[in-house]
Amino acid sequence: MQAVRFLDGVVLAGGFPALAGVDLAVEYGEVVLLQGANGAGKSTLLGACAGFNKLASGTAEVLGYNLATQRAEVRRRVGLLDHTIALYRNLTAMENLQMWARMARIEAVDIEYSFDRLNITENLQKMPIAQLSKGQQQRVALAAIIARRPEIWLLDEPFSGLDANSRELLFDVISEAAQAGATILIASHDTAISSGCDARIVRMIAGVVVDGKPAVGQSTILR
């Protein structure tokens, strides 16, 4: 059973094929590390998996939903953490997540748990996003993902800009999600991360997957 399946997937960015015929299959519960240089198409692939980047040609399914016609369904079921943060700058961390929880029909207790899990103190919760550091903003964005417990986690350079403690915390959170059976795709051009992961490594060059051999045994994130 495949959580993500791309067959000759093409995604255009400003007329340029950021994904130029991607073939990829990710099993449910698998952890995949996307690697490649800047511009290889890792972020575009994650954006497509999250239902935010439109497929120009080819076929793709995420959680059984067709990415060409059912992107709204996909968006509700996956969690994407990338450099855009996707939070309102002038609302506080708490207001952002409370508003989102009301829309997503998520219990307030899950929001509290997420904040606690990521050590986001009450003071930080009451600060506007614009006044938080990049690392703190990233933790708030991650809190939204934890609260939702998505079936697929899409993490784009999740460790960039994080201090050692936050990095360790993020490793823990990802490990917990993996152990709970979530499918996880992590994009990074940092090859050092792969030394700490027992995950399937998928390499991308110029918008295509060039190497993506399946992992041996169950994939888990190890520190």
């Binding site: 996707a86 989102w100 997503a104 029909r105 939204a144």
Partner: protein, 225 residues
Amino acid sequence: MIAFIKDAYIVFVKDLKIEWRTRNTSGHVLPFAFFVLVFFGFTFNSSQTVLEQATPGLIWMVVLFVTIVAAENSLRLETENEAVRLLLTGGVLPAAIFVGKVGSVVLQLLFVELVLVPGAVVFYASDVESLPLVVAASAGATIGLATVGCLLSTVVVGVKARRTVLPILFMPLVSPVLVAATRAFGDAFGVFAVNGWSWTGLLALFAVVNLIVGAMMYSQLLEDI
């Protein structure tokens, strides 16, 4: 339907809360509206007739410019940090986002009109002969302007056009609203011998059609921003 209304209300409250904190729109447009009233009054202070006759058109020209600023600011909230993703991952229908945003822009425009109309009465000694007509025409015209503003600002961002394109697209499209609102206000202020309620009916029709068409189109437009 209840979920739709709830989601639209959440977007509406969120936009107003941010506007209240940042004063992004009101901080720019209220001084602008005030100075237009004052300078226009200085320019034509020798001719009371010209002032009275121009007042309805002047009010709606100011509201038109304010709409462009308010609609642009409203969309910028969503494009900064790509915050609109928070709404989309929350499962909010694009149509609910549109209705919520239109609601918030409408309220901001009504606030400006609340300054402009009494301002015209004070500065230009205009008489309001029919307050219900002023209220009804304001409601219809404001919704008509806000819907077009919210739609076009999304189109402009979606096609990656320059911000200056928005007024160029906006003005021809809202010219029927501008004409109808000016006529209705002309009747309400007692300066045009027209049936203001007929023009208000046209404004209401324009508002309803825009709201429905906008809600239907917004899903597609939102995909491109």
